[in-house]
Symmetry: C2
Subunit: 116 residues, 2 copies
Amino acid sequence: MLIKKIQQVPAKPVQMEGAENVSVRVIFGPDDGAATFAMRVFELLAAGHTPYHAHPFEHEVLILSGQICLTTEKGPVALDPGDAVMVGANEKHQFKNLSAAQPASFLCLVPVEYQK
Amino acid sequence: MLIKKIQQVPAKPVQMEGAENVSVRVIFGPDDGAATFAMRVFELLAAGHTPYHAHPFEHEVLILSGQICLTTEKGPVALDPGDAVMVGANEKHQFKNLSAAQPASFLCLVPVEYQK
């Protein structure tokens, strides 16, 4: 059994093209022996965002803090803490911090084979 | 893409033997087309608890609210919001609300084939 406090897991900048002011903490991944899926926490600094992109696997997301705009193929959706999102494989998506002053964060799970 | 507010997903009492005053909301499961893993939110009323049990698949858990005692094979551990737990397959575990007055809640993910 593994127990971790989110804030104690190191945050690493997301270097992917199209990402700005976003970092990730891998809470449970391959290095922890996660068997099926990986748990990560993404933190968006003021005006930070993930890339607008798609990939051949799903996300399950829970907004933890802040005000986030989810860009979808059908337009933008405002998300609050307690909102959950399932992004299907190959659906384009982007998470953007709507605040220019406050950070925002969300939990994002993926099949473990896609957590590198 | 599916977007849900946790509070709008119906909560159902957990009927499992050994569970008391606990309900579950299936945020993303087989009925939603979840491909690999299922996202659920468990709510423990005052003094509520899940069974002390084990099963042949893992949990990944994030404490969302309240003060929870996790019973493990090596003893009890107090958990706060923002604490994450990976329970391995076949490890005994129980989540118990430490408060006799306030509810507590946690996110719990499982491989989708075990969400019935």
